[in-house]
Symmetry: C2
Subunit: 376 residues, 2 copies
């Protein structure tokens, strides 16, 4: 049996969790939380980082920080996870769904501007498979219309965008805010877990307050106020120290994990390239401005029938390959709220994209077997 | 140094977390989550239970299930934690704060009915210190006015309410919904963590959907639908399996933990009774219908000066005694939204209540020392 995903353990997770447990600091914002946050700030140039219980929660914090009010509009791709949209719908937003690019499932940047109205408050690009959207184009549109950009970087840890002047920046460091996931299916994991990156200083103070349940507790502990109380809306967004301890073990091994995943990805790519070209099946595309963090290896089939056939064939060999999102604009929850525009690429990826097993412990033999069963 | 709180470890926490880590199921809703949920359902008569990342999140789920809309009113005590109110304010609710009882900090049940308007949607009693509110009175008011009752049972694990006909029910099993906390300061802990108890079957299905990010994923895995998608608002409310594993170690030792805490509480009570009576200081009061789960031992001083003197005196002996909530109706965030009613008992407890150290490993000698320093 080759599963679709298998969480990878570096070996230190239990040790650090044990450390957190026996030092007696179990609730959030302890030693390991601070270590992890510092790691992200110093390695990726995020201005300020706050760990969260999930990427969903990081997106919800972003929606609160963006001050989304009922009736405000938010632009995002339809081909994404429900949390991208739910976070904003919870604040009363109306979602204007954009289509995906023809060459990969990320948002079609050229379609964004036509979706902007007087009510638009934010653009939420999703870096699908860890491959960056054209952030230069998106930031330029946002600046022109005075909109916020919130990067859904759930899959995009350790991936980069290169601007036309050659400047290279980490995904998640470009938008005003960005959300990452450490769910067990991601490159770097903590079970459930996430991170909010705050790149615009205007939001730093409020982010801390919202994270601490709407109180100015952090300012109190820094001695800036003499008692702390309820000053804003907020929630309990911070994870237990044990979760941060787990994450720390992963971060210490980030380079090694990334190297291994990229090797797996490369083996898939070279083994499937010729077959795919001959069958009009597409392999993952990485635009010139983006990097590949090897979060995912997928095929885009010609048709849903072809995809079903490949999934079934692999299943018969005990290999689990799985499809991905279903267009949110056609979901039971949102179809009646959507404005009726056709989003054909989003529907196409919903029907034709299939993800292959992708995890650290996948062996060369495993991959050869999978490739062999696809190309035979 | 005698701290105010020290998280107690039964010794099995790291073992079970290790188990969760090495079985490779790290995200939520795995074996330990199910074990914990089943424990609560079968031991306390909660109809359906869902673990959450915090009590705050359980309250937020309750607010969504109660279908709180902008402008709806919710009644709760002013003397409570910010999350009790924030959860509903996030959904647009206006909070009608009630005063506390004269004999203990719980909501003054007799004041509730006068706060009900056409817009009232729910009553949120808070079982302060794990001591039940008069749930018979509250349920009767709620039934008369067709309101929902959401028990904030953050501190109330393993505590009970006895109805006038002699029926005894666990706190959290009486209201339509109830929220518990497993924050490291509680009797039973998981670092950060919480639980939503759903006692009204009308909410069961939707609760599961909201918990699973607004998708019908659970129904899909039970084979009730053939694919799952976005069907409702929701969030990522479920905790990592490692958190549930930690909690399971605590639940296995619940009886022992409770026995020990009650012994500590009793030692405080008998050692301080006479002194308190002579000084017009009040010790915790447990109404005839309630039980004491020994979550907290507190003194209600005559004045803020007396409280400050006691806190300072204990501090000089390296004992950490701490005050508690500040009236939410007077908070920076809500004072301008409050309707101006005086809530004098809430203010009184804000100024005069002090909590004494309370944790499993507190020794008899520790307690004697604390009592000696208070009564000297």
């Amino acid at each position: 049996m080759i599963p679709f995903n298998k969480p990878y353990l570096t070996g230190k997770e239990a040790h650090y969790m044990y450390d957190a447990v026996y030092t007696g600091k179990l609730s959030g914002n302890g030693k390991f939380t601070k270590k992890c946050q510092h790691f992200f700030e110093s390695n990726y140039g995020f201005r300020k980082c706050l760990l969260t219980t999930s990427c969903t929660d990081a997106l919800e914090m972003a929606a609160i920080l963006a001050d989304i009010q009922p009736g405000d509009e938010v632009i995002m791709p339809s081909y994404t996870f429900v949390s991208t949209s739910n976070a904003f719908v919870l604040r009363g937003a109306h979602i204007r769904f954009a289509d995906s690019r023809k060459d990969h499932p990320g948002i079609d940047e050229d379609s964004i501007e036509s979706l902007i109205t007087q009510k638009t408050k934010a653009i939420v690009p999703v870096h699908y498979a860890g491959v960056g959207c054209d952030m230069e184009k998106i930031m330029s549109i946002a600046n022109k219309h005075n909109l916020l950009v919130i990067e859904d970087a759930a899959q995009a840890i350790d991936s980069y965008f290169t601007f036309s002047d050659g400047t290279k920046k980490a995904l998640g460091s470009i938008g005003h805010l960005a959300a990452f996931s450490f769910h067990e299916t991601k490159n770097i994991i903590s079970g459930e877990g996430g991170l909010l990156a705050i790149n615009d200083d205007r939001f730093s103070k409020r982010a801390e307050i919202i994270w601490e349940k709407g109180t100015n507790r952090s300012a109190f502990f820094r001695g800036e106020v003499d008692k702390y109380g309820w000053v804003d809306i907020g929630s309990s967004f911070l994870p237990s120290e044990t979760i941060a301890a787990f994450l720390w073990a992963q971060l210490e091994n980030l380079e090694n994990i990334q190297e291994k995943r990229i090797a797996i990805w490369d083996q898939y790519y070279s083994g499937l390239k010729e077959w795919a070209e001959n069958r009009n099946v597409r392999l993952p595309f990485v635009p010139h401005f983006a990097t590949n963090n090897a979060h995912m290896f997928y095929l885009v089939c010609e048709s849903v029938e072809q995809r079903t056939e490949i999934i079934e064939r692999l299943k018969s060999k005990s290999v689990s390959a799985v499809f991905h999102y279903l267009s949110l604009h056609k979901s039971p929850f949102y179809q009646s709220k959507h404005d009726g525009r056709e989003l054909s690429m989003s529907d196409f990826y919903s029907e034709c994209l299939v993800r292959l097993p992708m995890y650290y412990e996948l062996t060369e033999d495993n991959i050869d077997l999978i490739i062999g069963n696809i190309t035979r």
